[in-house]
């Protein structure tokens, strides 16, 4: 048990911080903790949580992905064309949107793994391409999404926000089983030490490629979920989500150097970020001061998470962090 807490120290700290934030939010909210308040909050958090999952897979194998927001924009604009009409065409549309997300990830992965281009550079370039495609699809925000489907996924099931149910399913049905496979293990091993993973007989290139495909897929899911919330397509959402996804994984205890952290941590990070924004909204602070305070809270939270660097007594070890 103690060992478990020590190995998951970063997640435990982040989770405690989130619990405090959410309690403050729900108790100070003018309307109190109603299903409606919860659902709105959960939807906002879930979009960021999904894109944070995408970022998590890239970061886990030492590859910051600057295109996750762009993939969201592309899949969102595509969805605004395809997710309307008969249930068959909606079904095919869903598949097409997710396929496009995965293909974007595949393209990134091929450039990074086999093209040997640095992840930041490769995804910076591909991000522009994806946003360009999104703009071609929707020069101005518009289009529509099937309302029944959107409602089904963004309201609640017996008082429980559907968004939270979706995330739970992802953790229980996807993440936990994945973590118990050789593939899940290889993701961590490669991020922590590519050399050791290779010498242990792991197919490093293929596993990294798969990680970037997963990043693309989840960015696509995030794009879909945005579509269900806004029921329109908008090509301009990319930059905001990209930056927030990075902040979310850092807050969730995932090391940018790779190999450390969990998908659950990414979710916590995303929820912390969005809850802080929501808190600001009702805080009574002047709107212009809100970004400043938000940034301050973030900076302090991250500083606490990495405070143990002060305890290092060998000056060379600082550079390994």
């Amino acid at each position: 048990m103690l060992d478990d807490i020590r190995t998951n120290k970063r997640e435990v700290i982040a989770l405690a911080f989130l619990v405090v934030l959410v309690s403050v939010y729900l108790t100070t909210h003018p309307s109190g903790p109603t299903t409606y308040v919860l659902t709105i909050w959960a939807n906002q958090c879930t979009v960021l949580a999904l894109v944070a999952i995408a970022q998590f897979f890239a970061v886990l194998v030492r590859g910051l992905d600057l295109s996750v927001g762009a993939v969201m924009a592309l899949t969102n604009t595509l969805a605004s064309h395809l997710l309307i009409g008969s249930s068959t065409s909606i079904g095919l549309g869903l598949l097409a949107v997710l396929a496009v997300g995965s293909l974007c990830g595949l393209a990134n992965g091929l450039a990074i793994v086999y093209g040997r281009i640095q992840p930041i550079v490769a995804t910076l370039a591909s991000a522009s391409v994806f946003v360009g495609l999104a703009l071609l699809l929707r020069p101005t925000p518009g289009g529509e999404i099937d309302f029944d489907l959107a409602d089904a996924l963004t309201l609640d099931i017996w008082g429980l926000p559907t968004a939270l149910v979706i995330l739970t399913v992802i953790v229980v049905v996807f993440w936990i089983p994945l973590r118990r496979t050789g593939f899940g293990l290889a993701l961590y091993a490669i991020g922590s030490s590519q050399q050791a993973a290779f010498q242990s007989g792991t197919p490093v290139a293929r596993v990294r490629l798969a990680a970037f495909v997963l990043a693309g897929l989840f960015a696509g899911v995030a794009g879909l979920f945005v579509s269900f919330i806004t029921t329109t397509g908008d090509a301009s959402i990319a930059p905001n989500y990209t930056l927030n996804s990075i902040a979310a994984v850092v807050l969730g205890g995932i090391a940018l150097r790779g190999g450390v952290g969990s998908l659950f941590g990414a979710l916590i990070g995303a929820f912390i970020l969005k809850t802080i924004s929501a808190l600001m909204f009702f805080s009574g602070l002047p709107p212009l001061a809100q970004p400043f305070v938000e940034g301050l809270i973030l900076a302090v939270a991250i500083a606490i998470g990495s405070a143990d660097i002060l305890r290092l007594r060998n000056r060379l070890e600082v550079f390994d962090r």
């Binding site: 050789g182 242990s200 007989g201 000056r315």
Partner: protein, 517 residues
């Protein structure tokens, strides 16, 4: 094969080139089932290259590899593993952020990319228990284990893959004698079950204890293979270095000094890696630091160069206590301490920069506002003095360091610090992985610097270096000086005994009798 043993792997005229450097030259080599073969050679003799080729980490430039008589391409460690070849690497192949359990499962043949099966774990647990690793919890992160514990895990990981050919590359370097004996017991059992074993070690008594036959490598060539006991200790050494020891080590240029000490270390401690170390070094003295890897020698060197915070005890120079807050303070005159670090590629040099820029780097920032003053009071003639003394081979000083061979890189790393004219020079394994000729040049330089009155502290993993170059050797064990050896006491046997924390080893240990702790 002639003695009826089955051949497992065969190299036919295998050559491996890195750029212009030949790491292996037309090596033909055979390894059999049910035999422990020791591979001996100096650092840089090609042993590691041989192991990497066998385990699929690198591929040969020329030549063929046969497994079970069939020509194969070992294009990755995964491919080698599928043929039953498992290597325990000297640079640990464990993933630091994962638990012991995860590391054992990683890349196991039965696991692949699918569900993690528990079968390997019971086997690994049994192996760990047998080699005194019963206290290592499966859930502990590898980064939180000590170096010997990591080696135990590494051994369990390799053996539980049920290899047909097991390669042990300095597999027991951090383990104490009693664990080593248990590991050897395990290895003998494997051999009796028909596993072929390749065993690389620098410790002669271990080779003597375990090996059935011995192969000697030198300068990338396979010199000879013979049954154990056919040649004496000194004959084997002669095969390894290709010349006599007196040719390799130049004679002393000045008598052992007996003046006042320059640097004095009193009861120095740092966490549990350094426990109350005291020593003194006089101008002109060469003081050796010996012991197995990670016993505190390196920590002492780091402390002397201002890399550690909150050390206990005192360091003084000419009787004045020193405040070594950073490498910058350590190198600043008049303190004048220089450290040529262990790993020249990552710590000693910046490979992309030119030779000149690398050499100027150490001089930067010695004075207030020193970074704005490129000149820094360094005499460029000093660079040329040392580079020509060591016969640095380069086109000109504008050539990037990464173009140079390992030996020439080390010459640049040395020159960089020598040009500051340090009063005390700390050398961490300065001849690791470089050729014999460069070694001799560096040894000559060390002799000469000592004659000029520089106090030298030489950390080395090479016994011969300690014996033939140093005036006295402090052997470390578990963070403390286990024994100080000088004069006639300074022998390989005594260094080994002290390194392993045993009281004495019978003198004939190196010739025939295993050294039991």
């Amino acid at each position: 094969m002639s003695d009826g043993k089955r051949e497992l792997i065969r190299f036919e005229e295998v050559t491996k080139a890195y750029g212009a450097t030949l790491a292996l030259k037309k090596v033909s080599f055979t390894c059999q089932a049910g035999e422990v073969r020791a591979v001996l050679g100096e650092n840089g003799a090609g042993k590691s290259t041989l192991m990497k080729l066998m385990s699929g980490v690198i591929q040969p430039t020329l030549g063929k590899i046969y497994v079970d008589g069939q020509p194969v391409r070992l294009e990755s460690p995964g491919a080698a593993r599928d043929l039953g070849i498992v290597c325990m690497f000297q640079e640990l192949s464990l993933v630091p952020d994962l638990s012991v359990r995860d590391n054992i499962l990683l890349g196991a043949k039965e696991v692949g990319m699918g569900r993690l099966s528990k079968g390997n774990l019971t086997r690994a647990r049994a192996i760990l228990d047998r080699i005194e690793g019963a206290h290592i919890p499966m859930k502990r992160k590898v980064a939180d284990l000590s170096l010997p514990e990591r080696q135990q895990v590494e051994i369990a990981k390799a053996i539980c893959r049920a290899p047909r050919l097991l390669i042990l590359d300095e597999a027991t370097s951090a383990l104490n004698a009693s664990v080593v004996q248990k590991v050897f017991g395990l290895v003998r059992d494997l051999r009796d079950q028909g596993t072929g074993i390749l065993f690389i070690s620098h410790r002669f008594h271990e080779v003597d204890d375990l090996a059935d036959s011995i192969s000697v490598f030198r300068n990338g060539e396979h010199v000879d293979t013979f049954q154990k006991g056919k040649h004496s200790y000194s004959e084997i050494i002669a095969k390894m270095i290709g010349q006599s020891l007196t040719e390799l080590f130049p004679p002393r240029l000045s008598p052992i000094p007996d003046g006042a000490p320059l640097l004095k270390v009193d009861d120095l401690s740092f966490g549990d890696t350094l426990r109350g170390v005291s020593l003194e070094v006089r101008p002109g003295e060469v003081l050796g630091l010996g012991g197995l890897d990670g016993q505190g020698q390196m920590v002492l060197v780091q402390a002397l160069f201002g890399l550690l915070k909150k050390t206990g005890g005192q360091i003084s120079e000419n009787g004045h206590p020193l405040q070594l807050k950073s490498p910058r303070a350590a190198k600043a005159p008049p303190t004048g301490i220089a450290l040529v670090p262990e790993d020249r590629k990552t710590e000693g040099l910046i490979p992309e920069l030119s030779i000149r820029e690398n050499m100027e780097l150490a001089a930067l920032g010695r004075h207030p506002f020193g970074l704005t003053d490129l000149d820094n009071g360094i005499d460029p003639d000093l660079f040329t003095r040392f580079t020509s003394e060591m016969e640095l081979v380069c086109r000109n000083f504008d050539q990037p360091v990464s173009d140079l061979s390992g030996g020439n890189q080390q010459k640049v790393a040395l020159t960089k610090w020598l040009a500051l004219q340090p009063r005390c020079l700390l050398l961490a394994d300065p001849t690791r992985g470089i050729d014999v000729k460069t070694k001799t040049q560096i040894y000559r330089l060390i002799r000469q610097l000592a004659a000029e009155g520089v106090a030298i502290i030489l950390l080395s993993t090479d016994y011969e270096e300690l014996i033939h170059l140093c005036d006295s050797v402090h052997v470390f064990y578990d963070g403390a000086v286990r024994q100080v050896l000088e004069g006639p006491e300074l022998t390989a046997e005594n260094i080994i005994a002290a390194s392993l924390n045993v009281n004495s080893v019978p003198v004939q240990a190196a010739q025939g009798h295993p050294a039991h702790a």
